[in-house]
Symmetry: C2
Subunit: 325 residues, 2 copies
């Protein structure tokens, strides 16, 4: 019996904690999400009740997958998650304030090894193991969602930095004295432009500054979002196209800077904004190339993640576990 158990394939658990919901699933070595589910993050103002619900929801999945004996460990991706300390530190979008020793809490609850990192680093690992960055030793992952996250791989390893917080490319300053970021108080960061929020702001500003007719003028201010801009652009609206062009210009300039830092083989983009396709990718590529010095030109790929959005977060978090010795 011991023998047959040992011969069973090992599995890992991936947990992706977001501001609204938490997704989790059981993953095999080749990246199949065998069983998965989701709970609310938001409604749990206390970490204890969150962990209780997570446990109650995961246990049935573990049983279906053949029991706890098959699980090698738990990987967790969370905003401001720190790989070195296993803590979540001052995450502005999570309900739990201060420093939360998340790895320890989950480990005590499940009696399994736990590895934590921030959500964007987890996404980069997921791409490296199962996605667009397979076989690459040097690449940068950028998530273009409500905000801009990033994970950087160099020499085949994630860059965590001396304190575990490396890879905050969304907060790099691209336009000195540019747009104020309400969350950080800093001006001109990439996230203030190249996120869904940034596109909305660009849309509102562009409509106010110009007198060009546009389908977007029919959208109420409070309803303006990147999806509305996308729909208008797909219908040929010039102003809407300009908004993506401007977003791509700033993103491209930022990507050029990142390339001149770590000279990656590829930049992998992920998240809502990538759905705009060439509307944003074309200007991004153009402006990246225009800002690169010669030695870097025409050799860095800009790829869009092809992992299913519903699986990617779980896969990324689960990928952390395979490295445990």
């Amino acid at each position: 019996m011991g023998k047959s158990k040992a011969s069973l394939e090992q599995l890992v658990i991936g947990i992706d904690i977001g501001g609204t919901g938490t997704k989790f699933g059981i993953v095999d070595r080749v990246g199949n999400v065998l069983f998965s589910s989701e709970i609310s993050t938001k409604k749990h103002t206390e970490i204890e009740t969150f962990i209780d619900e997570l446990h109650d929801s995961l246990i049935p999945l573990i049983e279906k997958a053949g029991g706890i004996g098959r699980i090698k460990g738990i990987g967790v991706g969370a905003p401001n998650g720190n790989y070195y300390t296993g803590t979540i530190e001052y995450a502005p979008n999570l309900p739990w304030k201060g420093i939360i020793p998340l790895s320890k809490i989950i480990q005590d609850k499940f009696k399994l090894p736990v590895v934590l990192t921030n959500d964007a680093n987890a996404a980069a690992l997921g791409e490296m193991m199962y996605g667009a960055a397979q076989g690459m030793n040097d690449f940068i992952m950028i998530t273009l969602g409500t905000g801009v996250g990033s994970g950087i791989v160099a020499n085949g390893k994630l860059i965590y930095g001396h304190d575990g917080f490396a890879g905050e490319l969304g907060h790099t300053i691209i336009i000195p004295d540019g747009r104020l970021h309400p969350g950080t108080g800093k001006k001109g960061s990439l996230e203030s432009y190249a996120s869904a929020t940034g596109v909305t702001l660009t849309a509102l500003e562009t409509l106010e500054k110009s007198k060009t007719p546009s389908l977007l003028r029919k959208v109420a201010k409070k309803d303006m979002d990147s999806k509305a801009v996308y729909i208008a652009a797909m219908e040929g609206d010039e102003l809407a196209k300009q908004i993506f062009e401007y977003t791509g210009k700033i993103l491209g300039m930022a990507l050029a800077n990142f390339v001149m830092f770590s000279s990656p083989e590829a930049i992998v983009l992920f998240g809502g904004l990538t759905k705009a396709g060439d509307l944003i990718l074309k200007p991004t590529r153009e402006h990246m190339e225009a800002n690169l010095i010669q030695v870097f030109q025409n050799k860095v790929k800009i790829l869009v993640s092809h992992l299913r959005e519903s699986d990617a977060a779980i896969l990324g978090a689960s990928a952390l576990v395979w490295d445990i010795q």
Copy 2:
């Protein structure tokens, strides 16, 4: 006899190729430059005559150090030197154009293993082995000379990138549509502001824009340089101090971006501009902190290299060799 030879300490050769001169020396394990000398780079329009003179000048040093049998290998730092290919590629400041297979040429001449990288990467290795970054796994080295060079260490290793060209931080864009860089044709790069050349340009621009009296108004345009600005600032000249303040503002903003990329324990500065001391370091620190998001604030050291300038380049290049298996 074989035994006594084997017990002799191994030595390495470091060669630093600059646009004007080439320095080289024989270095022991703890970073003593035992014998060193220098030849002109500039006067050799052909690589062959350069290598011949280098050979003729190095052989006597090797003999003094106990003969070729004691030498483990040769490390070379050169502009646009590529670690992976051992070639110098399109170096604008060297007399030899195109792609030069430098490692192979030196190896054939000396019959010793050769490792090549760019000069700023070599400098970073030197700091890691013998200088301000000893014991650090994550730091960034920035050389502030005529231009701005950089070497980045993360997870204890130099970042070379997929093609060997990583770490061109001097060419990152800090001021979109800013000053034109005559060498690259790009606008607003760090090098256009935070180099000796950049300080000179800032001085000329500042004098033209303002009417404030200044000691610098006595300096002829063609004689203006960062040293003149330094001397004026040390005599209390307000305009000269403003010039360093402005330079530090831009450098600080750039350093903040670099910190949010790789979260280094320290940034090590080296080169002519650092001689201005707090005139430039104080505004650099202030503006770096002002542009960092909270999680990075007040924990990244800005250090100035304490290696002797005459030795640093040789030490850096020599440090490459100890890693050869």
